[in-house]
Structures are given as C-alpha cells and as structure tokens.
C-alpha cells in the first residue's frame, strides 16, 4: 500500500512542479499575474505532497514496513526507535527526500516573503526554484525510487549502516541540506536577474539574508560532520579531505567568497558579473557534491555506487551550468562594472584578494577530488592525492585569508591613506608580533602554529580596536559604556554580526591549530589491572564485559583513571558487532575538556578479558572547534536581526 501511495504522490508532485515552473515563467514573461498565482498554488501542492512523502516514509520506518525496499535495506527489527527516524535519510534515496523537503520549505518562504516586494524578479525566481524542485522529485521517482516495492517481503530488514547510529545524524544532514538547498534562493534570483535583464543590485540586496542563512547552515553542517567524524569514527580526527567532505566544503568556499563580494557590489557597484558567476558556481557545486558522492565515480568511505542517478545529476548539472553561463554571456554588457578600483590599498582590493584566494582554494580542492578521474582518463593510471596535498596547498591560503579577515573590515574604501593604515593596524600588528614572541618563549616551536596563533591575535586585536573606538565615540555623546556597546551591536548589526562570525572562525582556527600542534597518542596492550599512561593520565584496565543489545553484540572495556588527573572517572570504550557488517565498529569513549580531550578506542582483546589493546589519545583544543560553531551561530543571528530604523 505505502509503496504505491508514495510513488503516486511523487508523480503528482512532479507534474505540479513542472507545471508551476512553466506557468511562473510564462506568467513572468507575459506579465499575467493569474499564471504566477497558479504557479504559487502548484508550489503549495508540491510542498504538501513532498512533506506527505517524508511523513509516509517516517511512518514506514516506524512500522517496519519491509514491503518498501528502502526501509528493508536501512532498518531491521532491532533498530532503536530514535534511529529509525534518522534512518529515513540514512542512504541515498531518503536523503533526496530530505533535500526536496527542505527545498519546498525554502520555496514556500520565498513565496511568502517576496511575492510582493520583488515583482519583476519573483516570477522567474519561482520558476527556477520549481524547476530545481522538479528535478529532485524526478530523482526520487525514477533513478532513486524511494518507494520501490520489495517482493517477496522479507521477515526482517538488513539494518542501518551502524556508523550512522549516532545523534549527529539527526542534525548533520538537516543542517547540511538546509545549507545546500538554501543557495538555490540566491541562484534563482540571479537567474531571474539575468533573464529579465535587471542585473542591477536588487537581486543581491533581496537575497542577502538567504545567502547568510544558507552559508550559516552549511558551516554548521560541516562542523557537525566534523564532530561526528571525531566521536564516531575513532581515528581521533575531524577532517580527512575525503571526497564527501570536499563536496560540502567547495560550495562553502565559494559561498564565503559570495557573502563578501556582494558587499563590494552593494557599496561600489563593482563585481556584478563576478557575483553572478560565484552564485552559479556555488549552486552548481551543491549539485556536484551530490553527483560526486552518489554516482560512484569517485571512491570514498561514504559513497555508494548507484546506477542511473549519476547520469541524471550530471545531465542536470550540465543543463544548469550551460544555461546559466549562456545567460551570463548574453547579459555580458549589462554586467559591466560601474565603479572602478581606485587603489590597490583599499577595502575593495582586500575583498577581491579574499575572493581570489577562496576560489583558488575551491579549485585545488576540486582538482584534488577529481584527480583520480583525470589521471585515469589521461594516463590510464589510478592515482589519488591525499591529505598532504590538500594541506600543503590550502594551509597557506587559509592563513592568508585569516590575515585578510583582520585587514578587510577596517581598511578604508577606495583608497586607504597612510594615516588610516597607521590608525587601524599599527596597534594590532604590534600586538600580533608580541603575541608571536610570547608563544615562542612559552615553548611553541612549530612555525606554523606560531604564525597561526599570532594571526588570530592580530585579527582579534583589530576587532577590539574597532569596537573600542566606536563605543568611545558613542560614549562621547553621553551614553554609558554598556549601553553604547549594546546600541552599537544592534544598530550596526550587519557589521558587528560579521565581526562575531569572524571571531567564531578564529576560535575554530585555534582549535584546528592546537589539535594539530599538540595532540599526542599511543597504542598499547594492557593486562587486567595494569595501567596505560599518556600525558599525565593513568588508565587502569579493569576488564571486559559482553552484552547483547537490540541489534548488535557489544564488548565493553572498563578503564578507570587513577593518575594525577581526573582520578576516579571511568571510560568505557567498546566494540560493536553488527550481524550485517563483516567488521566490528569501534565505540569511542572520551572525556571532553576545554583544553584537552582524553579519547580511548578499544582495539583487539583477549576473549577471556585478560588483556586488551587500546589506542589512547590526548587531543588538544578540539573543543574549540565546536565552541567556534556556537560563536558563529551568535554572529549569524546578530547579523540577521532586522535592521532598526534610526529615530528621525
């Protein structure tokens, strides 16, 4: 029953989305509001149907309806309630459902917010969004049929990929997809601007909030992905330049470039062409990410080979890129810049440099990711580039970007005078250099760490300098210090929200730097009652115990800390044996701390519990990465607060 009902709803949704896309386009072209209104109704219908499909799928998972093939493959009777819901998007078909569902929500909000305030662009933007939606519904209906029936109905399902039995799997895909799909909105408005020829700055200002929202969710998705990798995979790291990670990181890079370059257009009427190109690139990269991870053309720990879906995605990607770039070529003359770069030492040029570096980073990540394909196509040899390549190329780029992060917000527009530079940067540079000397005397010997830390100090100093100066200016007119600061943050929330986001990035940078420079690990075999020691921690191995869980068999080791630090705490790393998986899954146990985490992975063990091999890590400052995510959230919220009109 469910398979047929679901499939039927999908086909109706597909028809509605296609109709809506065409109707909105024709309505926009001929100026017939009735058609646009009809497209809105179609969009509402798609929203209802896709939501119903999502709920239907959740229902099938909760009731173990193994007549749905997707349910049978991704769950079994032992799967706990909580994970039966996350299993909905635990594999390709369901993740497309989630994607579409988010896209319908965005479409609905676009309708609500912009149907009146963006008259000329709106019908075309709606048309583009419904077109993209139609593609995703098509994918759900044909190459990745989520409601495909399974006959005969098996008595039990296969079960979810055990690695996905984690709370991070609730938030990570949701945040990531809110980010991915969110970029559809600025893309749709950019295409609308190209089609209508209204390529001025209206589409940029209209979509500013959307862009920031999408950027934020993408950042959050990446951070939660890192957290999942860190506490589930048991290798003690959070980022491995795996193709799937790169797939999400590339649109983040171009999206970050876009968030910055739009400010140049708003302020100086420059970079129109560039902004359109960036948003096209960002949107295409979100599609490319899905293509990459789901088509099976690149091997990754996450990728699942899937037949026809790759061809669908590549065709759609080609359609998007060729159409968007052809439109861009068509409007070439209108997209010409009005402003000009007055001086190399100016905010425009710093932002430009920031964009060049972000796009350069995107290209290196892109190249590194598709390198196995290129090498096989050109030389017939399977080769891969790994972490060293990505780190060597990207670390200098990222360090330079952090430097620019300090310079950009303070340097003058048009042409910075020597006085402007001295006033803004002399102090922070001195503080940065003093910081570097301090870190060196404190015993930091890694040049990279010293550079990174002193850059963080420099940028923080620029933010403090700016905040102090502005607060003092307000205090001169008689406001108290807290009032002045509060008023500043709220009145100029775009600027100071941006600063807080920058602070968040700095905190993440500290985490990345610290974890690379100071983490230590050891691997050792201990007998019962013996100790493993690392960095001042003493761990006593107390024994093993086995337990039968609802869907797996678990062997847990007990380790008590009795050294100078954290005495009395018990860590219980385990190994989980799932019947559907040939190798056991490590269950990491850890104690998180602000400055360091103690992290234990259970390796081999003797069956009688007399001895066990463990990997012990003390990972430094990793928590700062997650903390940075919180600061990032605060900054984004601040920058999205509706700007208050000043009292006249």
């Amino acid at each position: 029953m469910i398979p047929e009902l679901g499939a039927a709803m999908l086909f109706v949704a597909l028809a509605l989305a296609l109709y809506g896309s065409v109707a909105a386009g024709v309505g926009g072209r001929t100026g017939r509001p009735a058609l646009v209104e009809s497209a809105q109704h179609a969009a509402l219908g798609v929203f209802v149907l896709v939501t119903a499909c999502l709920l239907l799928l959740v229902y099938a998972f909760l009731t173990f309806d193994f007549s749905v093939r997707y349910v049978a493959i991704n769950t079994n009777r032992g799967t706990p309630f909580y994970y039966r819901i996350t299993a909905v998007w635990g594999a390709l078909e369901g993740s497309i459902v989630l994607w579409s569902s988010m896209l319908t929500i965005y479409t609905l909000i676009v309708i609500l917010r912009h149907r009146r305030n963006a008259r000329e662009l709106y019908p075309w933007a709606l048309s583009v969004m419904l077109g993209v939606l139609a593609f995703f519904v098509l994918v759900m209906a044909v190459p990745a049929p989520v409601f495909e029936r399974l006959t005969p109905i098996p008595p039990d399902g296969r079960g979810l990929n055990p690695l996905l039995e984690d709370s991070g799997m609730i938030t990570h895909p949701v945040a990531l997809y809110l980010g991915f799909t969110g970029f559809t909105v600025p893309f749709a408005f950019a295409i609308a601007a190209l089609i209508t020829g209204r390529v001025s700055d209206f589409w940029i200002t209209t979509t500013r909030r959307w862009t920031i929202t999408a950027w934020y969710f993408l950042s959050l998705g990446l951070l939660i992905g890192g957290w999942w990798s860190y506490h589930v995979l048991g290798w003690g790291g959070y980022w491995a330049w795996d193709p799937v990670e790169n797939a999400a990181f590339m649109p983040w890079l171009t999206g970050t470039a876009f968030v910055h370059s739009v400010m140049i257009q708003e302020r100086r009427r420059m970079l129109r062409l560039w902004n359109v190109a960036l948003v096209v690139m960002t949107f295409s990269l979100t599609l490319f990410g899905t293509f990459l991870t789901r088509s099976g053309v690149i091997a990754s720990v996450h990728a699942f080979t899937q037949g026809a879906i790759g061809i669908f995605f590549l065709s759609f990607l080609s359609l998007v890129l060729l159409t968007a770039l052809a439109l861009l070529a068509w409007r070439w003359d209108a997209l010409g810049a009005q402003g000009e770069l007055d001086s190399v030492v100016s905010r425009e040029s710093v932002f430009l440099l920031n964009n060049v570096m972000l796009v350069a980073a995107t290209f290196t990540v892109f190249f590194g990711t598709v390198f196995p394909l290129v090498s096989e196509a050109v030389r017939g040899v399977k080769l891969s580039v790994g972490m060293p390549f990505f780190n060597q190329v990207n670390v200098p780029l990222f360090l330079s970007l952090i430097f620019l992060m300090g310079v950009g917000p303070l340097i003058a527009w048009r042409r910075a005078s020597a006085d402007n530079l001295r006033r803004n940067f002399l102090g922070p540079i001195v503080v940065g250099i003093v910081g570097a000397a301090l870190f060196w005397t404190l015993g930091v010997r890694s040049a990279l760490a010293v550079i990174s830390l002193s850059l963080v100090v420099f940028v923080t100093a620029t933010i403090v300098v700016d905040l102090l100066r502005a607060t003092r200016a307000r205090m001169r007119v008689g406001e108290s210090a807290p009032r002045a600061l509060g008023g500043l943050l709220l009145r100029h929330n775009r600027r100071y929200g941006g600063f807080v986001v920058h602070l968040g990035v700095l905190v993440v940078t500290l985490g990345v730097t610290g974890s690379h420079a100071w983490s230590v690990q050891t691997e050792t075999t201990v007998h019962r009652g013996e100790h493993a020691e690392l960095a001042g921690y003493r761990l006593r191995f107390d024994g093993l115990r086995a337990s039968e869980e609802s869907n797996h068999f678990k062997v847990t080791g007990t380790f008590t800390i009795d050294g100078a630090r954290a005495t009395g705490a018990v860590l219980e790393p385990a190994k989980k044996f799932y019947p559907q998986d040939s190798s056991p899954i490590a269950y990491v146990d850890y104690r998180l701390g602000v400055m360091e985490d103690l992290y234990v992975v259970l390796g081999d063990f003797a069956r009688d519990g007399s001895q066990a091999t463990i990997k012990l890590q003390v990972n430094r400052m990793v928590s700062w990465i997650w903390l940075g995510g919180l600061v990032l959230t605060l900054g984004t919220v601040l920058s999205l607060v509706p700007e208050r009109r000043r009292p006249a």
Binding site: I298, I311, A329, V370, P579
Partner: protein, 172 residues
C-alpha cells in the same frame, strides 16, 4: 563573440565527469587472481565435509553469501542454483560459504531458494579472511589446477556465471 566561450569552458570538466561513468573506482583487480586458491575444510549445514583440496581436477565456484545480504544475495541465489544444476555433470562444483550469519536464518534462506549445492558456514571467519572477502556476495572461480582465475563482486548473473565457468572448462 568570445564571451560565448564562457559556457563552453565547462564542457571539458563535464566530459571528465562523464568519463567517470565508464570506470569503476573500486575495480581494483584482486591480487589473488592467478594464485593458488587457499585450501579450506568446512562442515556443511548437512554435516558433510567440504574440502577444496578434494576437488582438484574440477572447476570450483566459491560463493560467499549471507542471509541478511538483501537484495544482492537474494538475486543471485537462483543463478547459482541454475548454474550448479546445469554444469554439475560437466565437472563443475558450486560451494557456498555463509559468513556472519545465524544457522536458522541461513537454513531458511536455503530452503526458500531450494539450494542443493553444498553450503557451509564459516564460523571463525577464517575462509573469508583468506579470500580477502570485503563484502557479500563475492564469488571466486577456481580452475582445475586449484588456481583462482576470476573474482566477481556483487550479484552474479546467468551470463557472468556461464562466461566465467566455460572459460575454465576443457575445450574452451
């Protein structure tokens, strides 16, 4: 005119991606191919001994499967059974090795597909380690001299079975 080159610039990138469909990133040839097949001695579900050594002189198809491996193992079970019935008189033996499974579920699976060729559990997982089994199903084709001559990953089809077996039979 040159501005129309912008859309064309993405064509090479798209072409490389399209090329990706023609190659399988996981198709790394098994290092076991053309090496002697590791010997094993297992006890079949029906109690009979299954020894690879004893089958020298015959073409042996060693199939690794599990009852939870749905749909691939479900798809190929009838293929194996058909192949076995068709070729058993021409010196071909099909052996099923059931890994990471429970006895009841495995027997139910064999009843369902009316499997008649010998099947044995691999209780310690030793055989699957010797054959470098990465997932199920995987199938190895062993020639009459006891060498692995081909490895098939994923569900077998009638064609794939026939082609691989015919190649190893005399007169081919």
């Amino acid at each position: 005119m040159w501005r129309w080159l912008i859309p064309l610039s993405v064509v090479p990138v798209l072409a490389v991606l399209a090329y990706g469909f023609r190659v399988d990133p996981r198709a790394i040839p098994s290092p076991l191919v053309d090496r002697p097949a590791a010997a094993f001695a297992l006890t079949a579900f029906d109690g009979q001994a299954v020894r690879l050594e004893a089958l020298r002189g015959k073409v042996v198809v060693v199939n690794f499967w599990a009852s939870w491996c749905n749909p691939a193992c479900y798809d190929e079970a009838p293929v194996l059974e058909r192949g076995w019935r068709e070729y058993k008189d021409r010196g071909v033996v099909v052996i099923g090795v059931d890994i990471q499974d429970t006895r009841e579920a495995a027997l139910e699976f064999m009843r369902r597909f009316e499997i008649t060729f010998p099947n044995a559990p691999d209780p310690a997982g030793k055989v699957s380690v010797d054959y470098g089994v990465y997932g199920v199903p995987e199938t190895f084709f062993v020639d009459r001299q006891g060498r692995i001559r081909a490895k098939h990953v994923g569900a077998l089809t009638d064609d794939a079975f026939k082609t691989s077996v015919e190649r190893l039979l005399p007169g081919a």
